[in-house]
Protein backbone atom coordinates (compact mmCIF):
# COMPACT_ATOMS: atom_id res chain seq x y z
CA UNK A 1 0.00 0.00 0.00
CA UNK A 2 2.86 2.35 0.65
CA UNK A 3 4.13 1.89 -2.89
CA UNK A 4 1.90 4.72 -4.03
CA UNK A 5 3.37 7.15 -1.54
CA UNK A 6 6.94 6.53 -2.71
CA UNK A 7 8.49 9.50 -4.43
CA UNK A 8 9.51 7.77 -7.65
CA UNK A 9 6.18 5.96 -7.91
CA UNK A 10 7.64 2.59 -8.68
CA UNK A 11 5.04 -0.11 -8.92
CA UNK A 12 5.90 -3.56 -7.59
CA UNK A 13 3.37 -6.34 -7.50
CA UNK A 14 4.87 -8.11 -4.47
CA UNK A 15 6.74 -7.27 -1.31
CA UNK A 16 10.45 -8.17 -1.25
CA UNK A 17 9.84 -11.13 1.07
CA UNK A 18 7.11 -12.50 -1.20
CA UNK A 19 9.31 -12.06 -4.22
CA UNK A 20 12.18 -13.85 -2.52
CA UNK A 21 9.96 -16.79 -1.55
CA UNK A 22 8.54 -17.03 -5.05
CA UNK A 23 11.98 -16.76 -6.57
CA UNK A 24 13.17 -19.56 -4.28
CA UNK A 25 10.33 -21.80 -5.44
CA UNK A 26 10.99 -21.04 -9.12
CA UNK A 27 14.71 -21.66 -8.62
CA UNK A 28 14.05 -24.90 -6.78
CA UNK A 29 11.67 -26.02 -9.49
CA UNK A 30 14.05 -25.26 -12.34
CA UNK A 31 16.95 -26.86 -10.48
CA UNK A 32 14.91 -29.98 -9.79
CA UNK A 33 13.92 -30.29 -13.45
CA UNK A 34 17.44 -29.65 -14.76
CA UNK A 35 19.05 -32.05 -12.31
CA UNK A 36 16.43 -34.68 -13.12
CA UNK A 37 16.99 -34.36 -16.84
CA UNK A 38 20.74 -34.61 -16.43
CA UNK A 39 20.91 -37.54 -14.05
CA UNK A 40 17.97 -39.71 -15.07
CA UNK A 41 19.00 -42.75 -17.04
CA UNK A 42 17.21 -42.52 -20.32
CA UNK A 43 18.63 -44.44 -23.22
CA UNK A 44 18.84 -41.92 -26.10
CA UNK A 45 18.08 -44.57 -28.73
CA UNK A 46 14.85 -45.40 -26.92
CA UNK A 47 13.88 -41.74 -26.79
CA UNK A 48 14.49 -41.17 -30.51
CA UNK A 49 12.76 -44.40 -31.34
CA UNK A 50 9.74 -43.85 -29.13
CA UNK A 51 7.28 -42.22 -31.56
CA UNK A 52 7.95 -44.85 -34.22
CA UNK A 53 7.62 -47.69 -31.72
CA UNK A 54 4.36 -46.29 -30.40
CA UNK A 55 2.98 -45.98 -33.93
CA UNK A 56 4.06 -49.55 -34.65
CA UNK A 57 2.33 -50.77 -31.50
CA UNK A 58 -0.89 -48.98 -32.37
CA UNK A 59 -0.82 -50.54 -35.85
CA UNK A 60 -0.48 -53.99 -34.34
CA UNK A 61 -3.41 -53.30 -32.01
CA UNK A 62 -5.68 -52.88 -35.02
CA UNK A 63 -8.07 -54.52 -35.73
CA UNK A 64 -9.25 -55.11 -32.16
CA UNK A 65 -9.85 -58.80 -31.42
CA UNK A 66 -13.52 -58.53 -30.46
CA UNK A 67 -13.91 -62.29 -30.79
CA UNK A 68 -11.60 -62.67 -27.78
CA UNK A 69 -14.07 -60.94 -25.47
CA UNK A 70 -16.42 -63.86 -24.63
CA UNK A 71 -13.73 -66.40 -23.89
CA UNK A 72 -10.92 -64.33 -22.41
CA UNK A 73 -12.15 -60.98 -21.18
CA UNK A 74 -15.73 -61.14 -19.97
CA UNK A 75 -15.15 -63.30 -16.91
CA UNK A 76 -12.09 -61.31 -15.85
CA UNK A 77 -14.01 -58.07 -16.29
CA UNK A 78 -16.81 -59.29 -14.03
CA UNK A 79 -14.24 -60.42 -11.49
CA UNK A 80 -12.72 -56.92 -11.54
CA UNK A 81 -16.11 -55.39 -10.81
CA UNK A 82 -16.61 -57.83 -7.93
CA UNK A 83 -13.19 -56.96 -6.53
CA UNK A 84 -14.00 -53.26 -6.67
CA UNK A 85 -17.49 -53.61 -5.21
CA UNK A 86 -16.77 -56.11 -2.48
CA UNK A 87 -13.53 -54.29 -1.63
CA UNK A 88 -15.47 -51.06 -1.22
CA UNK A 89 -18.08 -52.74 1.00
CA UNK A 90 -15.43 -54.31 3.24
CA UNK A 91 -13.58 -51.02 3.47
CA UNK A 92 -16.76 -49.27 4.63
CA UNK A 93 -17.29 -51.88 7.34
CA UNK A 94 -13.73 -51.41 8.60
CA UNK A 95 -13.59 -47.66 8.04
CA UNK A 96 -16.77 -46.74 9.87
CA UNK A 97 -15.65 -47.53 13.43
CA UNK A 98 -12.16 -46.15 12.77
CA UNK A 99 -13.57 -42.97 11.23
CA UNK A 100 -15.89 -42.48 14.22
CA UNK A 101 -12.99 -43.11 16.60
CA UNK A 102 -11.04 -40.37 14.81
CA UNK A 103 -13.82 -37.82 15.33
CA UNK A 104 -13.30 -35.87 18.53
CA UNK A 105 -16.99 -35.15 19.08
CA UNK A 106 -17.85 -38.88 19.10
CA UNK A 107 -14.89 -40.26 21.00
CA UNK A 108 -13.63 -37.54 23.33
CA UNK A 109 -10.29 -39.21 23.91
CA UNK A 110 -7.25 -37.62 22.26
CA UNK A 111 -5.16 -40.79 22.39
CA UNK A 112 -7.83 -42.89 20.66
CA UNK A 113 -8.34 -40.13 18.08
CA UNK A 114 -4.65 -40.15 17.26
CA UNK A 115 -4.42 -43.92 17.01
CA UNK A 116 -7.41 -43.97 14.66
CA UNK A 117 -5.89 -41.21 12.54
CA UNK A 118 -2.58 -43.09 12.36
CA UNK A 119 -4.42 -46.19 11.13
CA UNK A 120 -6.17 -44.16 8.45
CA UNK A 121 -2.97 -42.47 7.33
CA UNK A 122 -1.09 -45.77 7.05
CA UNK A 123 -3.89 -47.23 4.97
CA UNK A 124 -3.69 -44.30 2.55
CA UNK A 125 0.10 -44.18 2.38
CA UNK A 126 0.46 -47.70 1.01
CA UNK A 127 -0.42 -48.05 -2.66
CA UNK A 128 -3.06 -50.60 -3.57
CA UNK A 129 -0.46 -52.48 -5.62
CA UNK A 130 1.69 -52.87 -2.52
CA UNK A 131 -1.31 -54.01 -0.51
CA UNK A 132 -1.96 -56.52 -3.32
CA UNK A 133 1.63 -57.79 -3.18
CA UNK A 134 1.32 -58.23 0.59
CA UNK A 135 -1.96 -60.13 0.35
CA UNK A 136 -0.72 -62.30 -2.51
CA UNK A 137 2.18 -63.26 -0.25
CA UNK A 138 -0.25 -64.08 2.56
CA UNK A 139 -3.22 -65.71 0.83
CA UNK A 140 -1.73 -66.69 -2.51
CA UNK A 141 -2.68 -65.31 -5.94
CA UNK A 142 -6.31 -64.63 -6.85
CA UNK A 143 -9.25 -62.32 -6.36
CA UNK A 144 -9.17 -62.65 -2.57
CA UNK A 145 -5.85 -60.82 -2.40
CA UNK A 146 -7.19 -58.19 -4.80
CA UNK A 147 -10.38 -57.62 -2.81
CA UNK A 148 -8.49 -57.22 0.45
CA UNK A 149 -5.97 -54.89 -1.22
CA UNK A 150 -8.77 -52.64 -2.47
CA UNK A 151 -10.46 -52.77 0.94
CA UNK A 152 -7.34 -51.89 2.92
CA UNK A 153 -6.34 -49.10 0.55
CA UNK A 154 -9.84 -47.58 0.72
CA UNK A 155 -10.18 -47.65 4.51
CA UNK A 156 -8.06 -44.53 4.91
CA UNK A 157 -10.00 -42.59 2.30
CA UNK A 158 -13.49 -43.55 3.50
CA UNK A 159 -12.58 -43.32 7.19
CA UNK A 160 -11.09 -39.84 6.86
CA UNK A 161 -14.12 -38.46 5.06
CA UNK A 162 -16.58 -40.16 7.43
CA UNK A 163 -14.69 -38.67 10.39
CA UNK A 164 -14.75 -35.20 8.82
CA UNK A 165 -18.46 -35.45 7.99
CA UNK A 166 -19.24 -36.41 11.59
CA UNK A 167 -17.14 -33.57 13.01
CA UNK A 168 -18.95 -31.09 10.79
CA UNK A 169 -22.40 -32.37 11.81
CA UNK A 170 -24.73 -29.87 13.45
CA UNK A 171 -24.38 -30.01 17.25
CA UNK A 172 -27.86 -28.67 17.96
CA UNK A 173 -29.71 -31.78 16.83
CA UNK A 174 -27.47 -34.02 18.88
CA UNK A 175 -27.74 -31.84 21.98
CA UNK A 176 -31.52 -32.05 21.75
CA UNK A 177 -31.31 -35.83 21.65
CA UNK A 178 -28.84 -35.99 24.52
CA UNK A 179 -31.00 -33.60 26.52
CA UNK A 180 -33.90 -36.03 26.11
CA UNK A 181 -31.72 -38.67 27.72
CA UNK A 182 -31.10 -40.72 24.61
CA UNK A 183 -28.30 -43.25 24.99
CA UNK A 184 -25.09 -42.85 22.99
CA UNK A 185 -25.98 -45.29 20.21
CA UNK A 186 -29.40 -43.70 19.67
CA UNK A 187 -27.81 -40.27 19.44
CA UNK A 188 -25.54 -41.74 16.80
CA UNK A 189 -28.25 -43.34 14.67
CA UNK A 190 -30.87 -40.61 15.01
CA UNK A 191 -28.62 -37.55 15.39
CA UNK A 192 -25.54 -38.10 13.25
CA UNK A 193 -26.52 -40.68 10.66
CA UNK A 194 -29.27 -38.63 8.93
CA UNK A 195 -26.88 -35.67 8.75
CA UNK A 196 -23.91 -37.49 7.29
CA UNK A 197 -25.89 -39.86 5.08
CA UNK A 198 -25.65 -37.87 1.79
CA UNK A 199 -21.94 -37.22 2.29
CA UNK A 200 -21.45 -40.87 3.18
CA UNK A 201 -23.09 -42.28 0.04
CA UNK A 202 -21.28 -39.74 -2.06
CA UNK A 203 -17.92 -40.78 -0.60
CA UNK A 204 -18.67 -44.47 -1.04
CA UNK A 205 -19.69 -44.04 -4.69
CA UNK A 206 -16.69 -41.85 -5.41
CA UNK A 207 -14.37 -44.45 -3.89
CA UNK A 208 -16.07 -47.24 -5.82
CA UNK A 209 -15.42 -45.32 -9.02
CA UNK A 210 -11.72 -45.03 -8.12
CA UNK A 211 -11.63 -48.70 -7.12
CA UNK A 212 -12.96 -49.85 -10.50
CA UNK A 213 -9.93 -48.16 -12.05
CA UNK A 214 -7.51 -49.48 -9.44
CA UNK A 215 -8.76 -53.06 -9.46
CA UNK A 216 -8.05 -53.28 -13.19
CA UNK A 217 -4.33 -53.11 -12.48
CA UNK A 218 -4.09 -55.60 -9.61
CA UNK A 219 -3.90 -58.60 -11.92
CA UNK A 220 -0.41 -57.53 -12.96
CA UNK A 221 0.85 -58.73 -9.56
CA UNK A 222 -1.42 -61.77 -9.54
CA UNK A 223 -4.30 -60.40 -7.47
CA UNK A 224 -7.07 -61.31 -9.92
CA UNK A 225 -9.28 -59.39 -12.30
CA UNK A 226 -8.80 -58.12 -15.81
CA UNK A 227 -5.17 -57.19 -15.18
CA UNK A 228 -4.34 -60.88 -15.43
CA UNK A 229 -5.92 -61.10 -18.89
CA UNK A 230 -3.91 -58.04 -19.87
CA UNK A 231 -0.71 -59.56 -18.54
CA UNK A 232 -1.26 -62.83 -20.40
CA UNK A 233 -2.03 -61.14 -23.70
CA UNK A 234 1.02 -58.89 -23.35
CA UNK A 235 3.39 -61.69 -22.52
CA UNK A 236 2.24 -63.48 -25.66
CA UNK A 237 2.52 -60.23 -27.69
CA UNK A 238 -1.08 -60.61 -28.84
CA UNK A 239 -1.61 -56.91 -29.35
CA UNK A 240 -5.08 -57.16 -30.88
CA UNK A 241 -6.17 -58.92 -27.69
CA UNK A 242 -4.40 -56.30 -25.58
CA UNK A 243 -6.42 -53.69 -27.44
CA UNK A 244 -9.60 -55.63 -26.64
CA UNK A 245 -8.75 -55.69 -22.93
CA UNK A 246 -7.88 -51.97 -22.89
CA UNK A 247 -11.13 -51.17 -24.69
CA UNK A 248 -13.06 -53.21 -22.11
CA UNK A 249 -11.38 -51.34 -19.24
CA UNK A 250 -12.03 -47.98 -20.90
CA UNK A 251 -15.71 -48.78 -21.40
CA UNK A 252 -16.26 -50.01 -17.85
CA UNK A 253 -14.44 -47.04 -16.32
CA UNK A 254 -16.42 -44.52 -18.37
CA UNK A 255 -19.72 -46.24 -17.64
CA UNK A 256 -18.87 -46.38 -13.92
CA UNK A 257 -18.08 -42.67 -13.93
CA UNK A 258 -21.32 -41.78 -15.70
CA UNK A 259 -23.36 -43.94 -13.30
CA UNK A 260 -21.68 -42.48 -10.23
CA UNK A 261 -22.09 -38.91 -11.45
CA UNK A 262 -25.78 -39.51 -12.18
CA UNK A 263 -26.45 -41.07 -8.76
CA UNK A 264 -24.49 -38.39 -6.89
CA UNK A 265 -26.47 -35.66 -8.58
CA UNK A 266 -29.67 -37.31 -7.42
CA UNK A 267 -28.73 -37.83 -3.78
CA UNK A 268 -26.88 -34.56 -3.17
Amino acid sequence: MNAATLEEKVWRRFTPAQRLARFAVYLGLVTAIVVSIQTIEVIPEFLLDAPEQMADLLRRMWPVAFSYYPKGVHEALIETLHIATLGTIISVVIAFPIGLAAAHNIVPNRLLNHIARLLLVSSRSVNSLVWALLFVAVFGPGALAGTLAIAFRSVGFVGKLVGEAVEEANRGTIEALEASGAPWLSALTFGYWPQIQPAFWSVVLFRWDINVRESAVLGLVGAGGIGMALDTAMNLFQWDRVAMVLLAIFTVVIVAEIVVTAIRQRIL
Binding site: M1, V10, W11, R13
Partner: protein, 254 residues
Protein backbone atom coordinates in the same frame (compact mmCIF):
# COMPACT_ATOMS: atom_id res chain seq x y z
CA UNK B 1 -12.68 18.97 -32.16
CA UNK B 2 -14.25 19.11 -35.57
CA UNK B 3 -17.97 19.33 -36.02
CA UNK B 4 -18.54 16.03 -37.74
CA UNK B 5 -19.85 13.29 -35.50
CA UNK B 6 -17.32 11.08 -33.72
CA UNK B 7 -19.85 8.26 -33.66
CA UNK B 8 -22.78 7.72 -36.02
CA UNK B 9 -25.20 4.86 -35.66
CA UNK B 10 -27.19 4.15 -38.81
CA UNK B 11 -30.25 1.89 -39.10
CA UNK B 12 -29.04 -0.38 -36.35
CA UNK B 13 -31.10 -3.55 -35.83
CA UNK B 14 -30.53 -6.36 -33.38
CA UNK B 15 -32.45 -9.61 -33.04
CA UNK B 16 -31.31 -12.25 -30.53
CA UNK B 17 -34.13 -14.45 -31.77
CA UNK B 18 -35.13 -14.25 -35.40
CA UNK B 19 -38.26 -12.17 -35.88
CA UNK B 20 -38.14 -10.60 -32.41
CA UNK B 21 -36.13 -7.39 -32.73
CA UNK B 22 -34.64 -5.83 -29.59
CA UNK B 23 -33.40 -2.77 -31.45
CA UNK B 24 -35.11 -1.41 -34.54
CA UNK B 25 -33.75 1.19 -36.87
CA UNK B 26 -31.64 3.19 -34.42
CA UNK B 27 -30.14 6.36 -35.91
CA UNK B 28 -27.98 8.48 -33.63
CA UNK B 29 -25.05 10.88 -33.92
CA UNK B 30 -22.65 11.75 -31.15
CA UNK B 31 -20.26 14.70 -31.37
CA UNK B 32 -16.66 14.57 -30.14
CA UNK B 33 -17.57 15.56 -26.59
CA UNK B 34 -20.49 15.76 -24.20
CA UNK B 35 -22.32 13.62 -21.72
CA UNK B 36 -25.26 11.64 -23.08
CA UNK B 37 -27.67 9.61 -21.00
CA UNK B 38 -29.80 6.87 -22.53
CA UNK B 39 -32.86 6.24 -20.40
CA UNK B 40 -35.70 3.80 -20.63
CA UNK B 41 -37.32 0.93 -18.76
CA UNK B 42 -35.55 -2.38 -18.23
CA UNK B 43 -35.52 -4.69 -21.23
CA UNK B 44 -35.90 -1.94 -23.79
CA UNK B 45 -32.55 -2.55 -25.44
CA UNK B 46 -30.39 0.17 -23.80
CA UNK B 47 -27.78 -2.33 -22.79
CA UNK B 48 -27.87 -4.04 -26.16
CA UNK B 49 -27.40 -0.70 -27.89
CA UNK B 50 -24.33 0.17 -25.79
CA UNK B 51 -22.86 -3.29 -26.33
CA UNK B 52 -23.46 -3.17 -30.07
CA UNK B 53 -21.25 -0.10 -30.32
CA UNK B 54 -18.07 -2.00 -29.39
CA UNK B 55 -19.55 -5.26 -30.68
CA UNK B 56 -19.61 -7.13 -27.39
CA UNK B 57 -22.98 -7.91 -28.94
CA UNK B 58 -22.98 -8.44 -32.71
CA UNK B 59 -25.50 -6.18 -34.50
CA UNK B 60 -27.90 -7.87 -36.90
CA UNK B 61 -27.94 -5.03 -39.42
CA UNK B 62 -26.90 -1.42 -39.79
CA UNK B 63 -23.64 0.40 -39.39
CA UNK B 64 -21.67 2.03 -36.60
CA UNK B 65 -19.31 4.67 -37.94
CA UNK B 66 -16.62 5.49 -35.40
CA UNK B 67 -14.01 8.04 -36.48
CA UNK B 68 -14.70 7.38 -40.11
CA UNK B 69 -14.76 3.59 -40.05
CA UNK B 70 -17.67 1.17 -39.88
CA UNK B 71 -17.05 -1.02 -36.83
CA UNK B 72 -19.62 -3.56 -37.99
CA UNK B 73 -17.51 -4.45 -41.02
CA UNK B 74 -14.18 -4.75 -39.20
CA UNK B 75 -12.47 -8.14 -39.06
CA UNK B 76 -11.57 -9.37 -35.58
CA UNK B 77 -8.06 -7.97 -35.46
CA UNK B 78 -9.15 -4.54 -36.67
CA UNK B 79 -12.03 -4.63 -34.22
CA UNK B 80 -9.56 -5.27 -31.42
CA UNK B 81 -7.57 -2.19 -32.44
CA UNK B 82 -10.77 -0.13 -32.59
CA UNK B 83 -11.83 -1.34 -29.15
CA UNK B 84 -8.66 0.12 -27.70
CA UNK B 85 -10.15 3.55 -28.49
CA UNK B 86 -13.40 2.80 -26.63
CA UNK B 87 -13.42 2.61 -22.84
CA UNK B 88 -16.21 0.71 -21.17
CA UNK B 89 -17.66 0.84 -17.65
CA UNK B 90 -19.91 -2.01 -16.50
CA UNK B 91 -22.84 -2.29 -14.13
CA UNK B 92 -21.17 -4.89 -11.94
CA UNK B 93 -17.75 -3.26 -12.38
CA UNK B 94 -16.35 -6.46 -13.96
CA UNK B 95 -12.96 -6.01 -12.37
CA UNK B 96 -10.67 -9.02 -12.42
CA UNK B 97 -11.23 -9.73 -8.76
CA UNK B 98 -8.04 -11.55 -7.92
CA UNK B 99 -5.82 -8.90 -9.44
CA UNK B 100 -4.74 -5.78 -7.59
CA UNK B 101 -6.19 -2.35 -8.25
CA UNK B 102 -3.03 -1.42 -10.14
CA UNK B 103 -3.19 -4.54 -12.31
CA UNK B 104 -6.81 -3.78 -13.09
CA UNK B 105 -5.92 -0.25 -14.14
CA UNK B 106 -3.04 -1.44 -16.28
CA UNK B 107 -5.30 -3.97 -17.96
CA UNK B 108 -6.68 -0.91 -19.74
CA UNK B 109 -3.36 -0.83 -21.60
CA UNK B 110 -3.42 -4.52 -22.61
CA UNK B 111 -4.25 -3.67 -26.20
CA UNK B 112 -0.87 -1.99 -26.52
CA UNK B 113 1.40 -4.35 -24.61
CA UNK B 114 2.93 -7.58 -25.90
CA UNK B 115 1.74 -10.72 -24.17
CA UNK B 116 5.08 -11.64 -22.57
CA UNK B 117 5.53 -8.13 -21.18
CA UNK B 118 2.00 -8.17 -19.81
CA UNK B 119 2.73 -11.56 -18.24
CA UNK B 120 5.84 -10.18 -16.52
CA UNK B 121 3.93 -7.02 -15.49
CA UNK B 122 6.37 -4.89 -17.50
CA UNK B 123 4.28 -1.92 -18.50
CA UNK B 124 5.78 1.31 -19.86
CA UNK B 125 6.64 3.74 -17.08
CA UNK B 126 4.34 6.37 -18.62
CA UNK B 127 1.41 3.97 -18.18
CA UNK B 128 2.35 3.38 -14.55
CA UNK B 129 2.68 7.12 -13.91
CA UNK B 130 -0.70 7.65 -15.54
CA UNK B 131 -2.22 4.95 -13.38
CA UNK B 132 -0.91 6.46 -10.15
CA UNK B 133 -2.19 9.86 -11.28
CA UNK B 134 -5.63 8.45 -12.04
CA UNK B 135 -5.80 6.65 -8.72
CA UNK B 136 -5.33 10.00 -6.99
CA UNK B 137 -8.01 11.55 -9.20
CA UNK B 138 -10.58 8.86 -8.37
CA UNK B 139 -9.66 9.06 -4.71
CA UNK B 140 -7.98 5.68 -4.33
CA UNK B 141 -4.43 6.96 -3.84
CA UNK B 142 -3.31 4.35 -1.33
CA UNK B 143 -5.01 1.34 -2.87
CA UNK B 144 -2.65 0.35 -5.68
CA UNK B 145 -1.66 -3.02 -4.27
CA UNK B 146 -4.98 -3.92 -2.72
CA UNK B 147 -6.83 -6.75 -4.35
CA UNK B 148 -9.97 -5.72 -6.25
CA UNK B 149 -12.21 -8.10 -4.32
CA UNK B 150 -11.36 -6.31 -1.06
CA UNK B 151 -12.98 -3.05 -2.23
CA UNK B 152 -16.50 -1.73 -1.68
CA UNK B 153 -18.90 -1.33 -4.60
CA UNK B 154 -18.25 2.38 -5.01
CA UNK B 155 -14.49 1.88 -4.87
CA UNK B 156 -14.73 -0.88 -7.44
CA UNK B 157 -16.64 1.31 -9.83
CA UNK B 158 -13.98 4.02 -9.42
CA UNK B 159 -11.42 1.45 -10.46
CA UNK B 160 -13.68 0.45 -13.35
CA UNK B 161 -13.82 4.07 -14.54
CA UNK B 162 -10.08 4.51 -14.08
CA UNK B 163 -9.49 1.37 -16.16
CA UNK B 164 -11.61 2.79 -18.97
CA UNK B 165 -9.78 6.13 -18.82
CA UNK B 166 -6.41 4.32 -18.81
CA UNK B 167 -7.17 3.31 -22.39
CA UNK B 168 -6.90 7.02 -23.32
CA UNK B 169 -10.16 6.41 -25.15
CA UNK B 170 -11.85 8.52 -27.83
CA UNK B 171 -15.21 7.38 -26.46
CA UNK B 172 -16.42 6.10 -23.09
CA UNK B 173 -19.42 3.78 -22.82
CA UNK B 174 -21.03 3.06 -19.47
CA UNK B 175 -23.62 0.34 -19.08
CA UNK B 176 -25.79 1.07 -16.01
CA UNK B 177 -22.72 2.15 -14.01
CA UNK B 178 -24.70 3.09 -10.89
CA UNK B 179 -27.44 0.47 -10.80
CA UNK B 180 -25.65 -1.63 -8.18
CA UNK B 181 -24.80 1.36 -5.96
CA UNK B 182 -26.58 3.36 -3.27
CA UNK B 183 -27.91 6.87 -4.19
CA UNK B 184 -25.07 8.84 -2.60
CA UNK B 185 -22.36 6.75 -4.23
CA UNK B 186 -24.28 6.90 -7.52
CA UNK B 187 -24.01 10.68 -7.52
CA UNK B 188 -20.27 10.49 -6.78
CA UNK B 189 -19.72 8.03 -9.60
CA UNK B 190 -21.72 10.09 -12.09
CA UNK B 191 -19.81 13.21 -11.09
CA UNK B 192 -16.55 11.39 -11.64
CA UNK B 193 -17.64 10.12 -15.06
CA UNK B 194 -18.80 13.57 -16.19
CA UNK B 195 -15.74 15.38 -14.88
CA UNK B 196 -13.28 12.89 -16.35
CA UNK B 197 -15.12 13.02 -19.68
CA UNK B 198 -14.82 16.80 -19.69
CA UNK B 199 -11.21 16.84 -18.54
CA UNK B 200 -10.13 14.39 -21.23
CA UNK B 201 -12.51 15.90 -23.80
CA UNK B 202 -14.08 12.52 -24.54
CA UNK B 203 -17.75 11.87 -25.30
CA UNK B 204 -19.43 9.77 -22.63
CA UNK B 205 -22.51 7.66 -23.33
CA UNK B 206 -24.21 6.30 -20.23
CA UNK B 207 -27.31 4.21 -20.07
CA UNK B 208 -29.32 4.34 -16.89
CA UNK B 209 -32.88 4.00 -15.66
CA UNK B 210 -32.78 6.78 -13.07
CA UNK B 211 -34.42 9.80 -14.74
CA UNK B 212 -33.44 12.26 -12.02
CA UNK B 213 -29.80 11.33 -12.24
CA UNK B 214 -29.94 11.66 -16.02
CA UNK B 215 -31.53 15.10 -15.78
CA UNK B 216 -28.94 16.25 -13.28
CA UNK B 217 -25.83 15.18 -15.16
CA UNK B 218 -26.51 14.78 -18.86
CA UNK B 219 -26.08 17.40 -21.59
CA UNK B 220 -28.37 15.33 -23.74
CA UNK B 221 -30.95 12.65 -23.00
CA UNK B 222 -32.02 9.86 -25.31
CA UNK B 223 -35.21 8.12 -24.32
CA UNK B 224 -35.83 4.59 -25.55
CA UNK B 225 -38.92 2.47 -25.57
CA UNK B 226 -39.59 -0.85 -27.25
CA UNK B 227 -36.22 -0.89 -28.98
CA UNK B 228 -36.60 2.52 -30.64
CA UNK B 229 -35.59 6.09 -29.84
CA UNK B 230 -38.62 8.10 -28.68
CA UNK B 231 -36.90 11.21 -27.30
CA UNK B 232 -33.62 12.87 -28.16
CA UNK B 233 -32.82 16.29 -26.79
CA UNK B 234 -31.88 18.43 -23.83
CA UNK B 235 -32.75 17.17 -20.36
CA UNK B 236 -34.82 20.31 -19.77
CA UNK B 237 -37.15 19.36 -22.62
CA UNK B 238 -38.00 16.08 -20.99
CA UNK B 239 -41.59 16.68 -19.94
CA UNK B 240 -43.93 14.33 -18.14
CA UNK B 241 -45.76 13.25 -21.27
CA UNK B 242 -42.43 12.31 -22.86
CA UNK B 243 -41.58 10.26 -19.81
CA UNK B 244 -44.98 8.66 -20.07
CA UNK B 245 -44.27 7.59 -23.61
CA UNK B 246 -40.90 6.20 -22.54
CA UNK B 247 -41.91 4.34 -19.43
CA UNK B 248 -45.63 3.92 -20.06
CA UNK B 249 -48.31 4.57 -17.44
CA UNK B 250 -48.13 7.45 -15.03
CA UNK B 251 -48.56 6.07 -11.53
CA UNK B 252 -44.84 6.17 -10.93
CA UNK B 253 -44.64 9.91 -11.69
CA UNK B 254 -46.37 10.92 -8.47
Amino acid sequence: MDNTAALSIRNLDKEYVRGRPVLRGINLDFPGSGFTAIIGPSGTGKSTLIRCINRLVEPTAGSIIFEGRDLVLLPRRELRLARRQIGMVFQEYNLVERLTVMENLLSGRLGYVAAWKAWLRRFPQTDIDDAFGLLDVVGLGGFANQRADSLSGGQRQRVGIARAVMQRPRLILADEPTSSLDPKTSVEIMTLLRDLGRAKNVPVIVNMHDVELARRFADRVIGMSGGAVVYDGAPAGLADDQLRSIYGGEDWLQ
